[in-house]
Symmetry: C5
């Protein structure tokens, strides 16, 4: 898998209970050693969108990752919604992809399980970000294949024709 | 049905469990052979809006289709909402139609049924996109006719006057 | 009631089960014969906002009407929400009124009743659109009067002072 | 209380069951006789945001009030949400305050009570609007004081330190 | 902890039942004596976003804090949602951080407890704002550490590897 030179901006939070950026940086270093990464940590998920905008002003990355954890209370789901709308606004402003990697506290059956979701989702999306930035046609091979991040792929629906 | 030359941009996802773009491309090839299509695959539905914006920068299509599947968990419905708001933002940014074709996992009574919804909705909306781009007055014939994509038409309400 | 020359853009859908635009056009022809109307049909409610923007590019109407029906499933209510946010975005983009006329499938107690809501709401809002475009001070007479479209007016609250 | 010359734009609706603008205009006339007011009536709450934008084009007011009533059905709450998002968009577009005064039908225990909420909320917010436009430092005196409009102030939380 | 000269804009409300801005100003004075603060009080949380925009026009601060309290009724949660979307819009408009500090009435088990949430959340976020403006790399040390404002830190997830 060849990759043209590029720079990925990784914005993460103090709120998350796992160092998500470390997974992304490690994954990219292993699989896309020519890709440069820059990191910017903000307090929580609502700060991610403008964090990408501010990082873009300084670093002009090819693509961004917005990494965050959503708490377990009902109001946290609303906060995630606001954060995600912010990310959509930021994408429009930058005309660049921002790969949103959110993990919800209630997704894991225990902390070990939750941790594995954090790692799997972040690593897989780091690869997606790298491919979108350097070899987007690679993603077409997986179109409609039920790819999942954080858990095993659902796979394509098989039907009798 | 005559169609003036045009180009349709099709943005689809790796998350979907059916190759939705293939339906759209096949339908357009059969019924609108003069229309060119370009395809761009992104990870999931939240990436569709900016995917259309990025494709527009390179390809300047006349119209876009945003094809995606929504998972079955409650949080997925919220994600679809954010993705759709993103699509509304992208339409405003581009001043172009983006025909949103979303299929929800819970719509089908089984996988075979769900698959048929994917196919029917995508094919019908491909025709809508082609007509909007090349012969928009054709749609007026169906105004208020209760047209549906993914399932049979509801048809117009018939009342005693 | 005198009206200065003006043009009203009417955007309607194939999804609706009633020809809403026909009501609007008929009402305007009867009561505001000097007002010109142009019509543009799109597939569904999510296409209305950009439909107004595209019609505005060609026709430069004074005001727009966005006519649509909302289905009866819970997800349809979310779709209406996205469509309405789109309409708010379009109003900001155009700095023009877009009178949103949405009828929800669950509003009628049967199809006959639902049909009457379609007709009443669309006709009354066509008058509102015409007045906003040509004689906005007429609306002030009804300020705070509990006017309703689709059902009888609620009327003003009467209190002992 | 001195006020520098200014103009307040008041946008209200035909849907409301109380003449809210009359309260605002009366309150301003009594307490801020040097402030000019202009009024613009639109059909319903979703028309308020663009109503402010259109009024701003003609009148260039210092600040706006968006006065509306929200119906009692669940869908009305969603409509209020869309109207409020529109108002947020309009504030960003104009870079001006728009004091949103919404009264929900379900707030009052009867019509008399509801009427008093309409009056109290509108009058108090008219004062807020006037102060924001002419003497914003006056509001700082009430910061964190649990001020309410429509009902008695909640007052500040008193704690043992 | 060294801080380069900077100015923080603090926007607070009359609705809140605690003088949140006082906590922020006190915290900044103690820990970042070289940072200047400016304050602007608005009626309620929906006025915070445009409050930041208006303060930015006059004061050109490096970063903003939007301090507010959310009432205990269901509709207040929707209002908070609209206020937060407004704040996201304002961040995009200014390309600056706006640290949103919202306290919900239902968060505290009694008024004393609620008061302590107000104080803790506001003071901690004041530090966050100061660091983002003057030494953003300091936040990276806490990335993924489960930092919380208003209550004790959740801390990082510890797993067997």
């Amino acid at each position: 898998m060849k990759a043209k030179p590029c720079k990925i901006g990784i914005v993460d939070t103090m709120f998350a209970r796992v160092d998500m950026a470390a997974f992304a940086i490690d994954e990219l270093k292993r699989k896309f050693p020519h890709i440069k990464t820059v990191r910017y940590t903000v307090p929580g998920i609502k700060d991610l969108a403008v964090g990408c905008v501010l990082l873009d002003k300084k670093e002009h990355c090819d693509i961004y990752m917005a990494l965050g954890m959503v708490g377990g209370a009902p109001i946290d789901t609303q906060c995630a919604h606001e954060a995600s709308i912010g990310v959509q606004l930021a994408k429009m402003k930058l005309s660049k992809h921002i790969i949103e990697v959110f993990v919800f506290a209630h997704e894991g059956k225990d902390e070990q399980d939750l941790y594995s979701i954090f790692e799997d989702r972040t690593r897989k999306h780091a690869v997606n970000a790298a491919l979108l930035a350097t070899a987007p046609q690679e993603l077409e091979k997986f179109a409609g294949m039920g790819k999942r991040q954080g858990r095993p792929d659902a796979g394509p629906i098989r039907v009798e024709k």
